[in-house]
């Protein structure tokens, strides 16, 4: 069985904040980002690597540094424990047009390993459920 996407994203703060190595990797990062799953936006506030808030949107006039958007199907495949080829990495998805990453790339690129691990963190839930 699969964890619903909404449940997966709502577990993100705990998955990240319980991961000491990931927190260390993001220790100089403070920013807000947006994740869109299908038509549903989520706003994630990051304070020195720790997720300090996750809010379900839409929230009118909310700003963010960059956004990662994809269909429900793309996120579902991305969060499988072993995603299929070309659904296993945010840039693989972006290259094939299944993800759109827009906004200011500076915080993403300067913390690329951190963000790749953060965005893929719900894979751990699927591994436990299955």
């Amino acid at each position: 069985m699969q964890t619903p996407l909404s449940a997966a994203i709502e577990r993100l703060p705990k998955l990240v904040n319980d991961n000491e190595a990931l927190l260390r990797r993001g220790r100089y990062l403070t920013t807000d980002i947006m994740i869109e799953i299908g038509a549903q936006p989520y706003y994630i506030s990051i304070d020195r690597g720790r997720i300090s808030a996750l809010q379900r949107g839409p929230i009118v006039m909310r700003s963010w540094s960059f956004a990662v958007r994809g269909s429900e199907d793309a996120w579902r495949k991305f969060w499988e424990p072993y995603p299929p080829p070309h659904f296993h990495d945010i840039f693989a998805l972006a290259k094939q047009g299944a993800f759109c990453i827009d906004g200011d790339y500076q915080p993403l690129i300067t913390n690329l390993l951190y963000f790749k691990e953060l965005l893929a963190a719900p894979r751990a839930l699927q591994a436990k459920v299955q």
Partner: protein
């Protein structure tokens, strides 16, 4: 307890490339048919350490990998601090052939990955008679550029971290953690702008689509192997090349990405051993 040594030995050789002195580092192990291995962009010869410690290979092959100029432990040429490194097809071909001559290699097998795979195609096009067989990993005559390379070398972004972060997605999710992170470690150690300079060759200087029809696999056998998780050189990219060359053998490797020999050596040997056995059987 006796110390455990790898059977790999490393040395430096001094060569002149395009009028400039270079001190090139290389490692080797094994005896038999020379097997010259070419690493990926922005990395170095350590990627082949598993092949060099696999007796099924080294019992029959002398496995050799050099760090390309500006890479790994090869010393950058005098004056490097005032220039931008950019790899070109001509310079890459010269480096391979000069190194091979310096070591006195006689009709080696050349195995190259990524940019190494691309240059293997150039060798097949124009120098086939000099080689016993050619193996391209993650190789294609052309790949569509898909990202902004400017991020790879600028003072406000840590070059090692961004190079590793970028290529981390090219590794298959099944690859074991230790091998994955060792592969990334090598990317974290590249000199500033070197990965980007290699990609100049890859993205700008080496579109071979108009030339691969000249490859004659009867003169020199050509094998192409691409990991199913490689989204930089995709299996479809390699397939387009394979279709244009008569007699090429192409394999899509399951549960592997862009760095098969270093990201998951146990999985890779399932694919490469039969090919090395075949080359040995038909050319010895």
């Amino acid at each position: 307890m006796a110390a455990k040594f790898d059977p790999i030995v490393g040395r430096y050789v001094h060569v002149t490339l395009r009028g400039r002195e270079h001190r090139i580092y290389f490692e080797e192990a094994g005896q038999g048919i020379p097997l010259l291995c070419l690493h990926t962009a922005g990395a170095d010869g350590r990627q082949f350490r598993y092949m060099m410690t696999d007796a099924a290979i080294t019992d029959h092959y002398r496995v050799i990998a050099f760090d390309m100029p500006w890479h790994g432990k090869s010393t950058p040429p005098d004056g490097w601090q005032d220039e931008e490194y950019r790899l070109t097809t001509g310079a890459y071909m010269d480096a391979i052939r000069t190194f091979s001559d310096a070591l006195g290699l006689e009709r080696p097998v050349v195995l190259g990955c990524s940019i190494g795979g691309r240059i293997v195609l150039s060798l097949a096009i124009s120098r086939a008679k000099e080689f016993r067989a050619l193996i391209g990993l993650e190789a294609a005559a052309y790949q569509t550029p898909w990202y902004d390379r400017e991020w790879l070398n600028r003072p406000d972004v840590h070059g090692g971290e961004v190079c590793a972060g970028l290529v981390s997605g090219l590794i298959a999710p099944q690859s074991p953690d230790a091998a994955r992170w060792e592969t990334l470690w090598q990317y974290m150690q590249g000199g500033p702008g070197i990965f980007k300079g290699d990609l100049y060759f890859y993205r700008v200087d080496s579109d071979l689509r108009g030339e691969i029809g000249k490859i004659d696999t009867r003169v020199c056998p050509l094998f192409l192997l691409t990991g199913e998780y490689d989204f930089s050189c995709t299996p479809a990219d390699t397939e387009a090349t394979a279709k244009a060359v008569s007699g090429v053998e192409m394999t899509v490797m399951k549960e592997l990405g862009h760095f098969p020999m270093s990201e998951n050596p146990a999985q890779f040997r399932r694919y490469i051993l039969p090919i090395l056995d075949k080359i040995r059987g038909t050319t010895e």
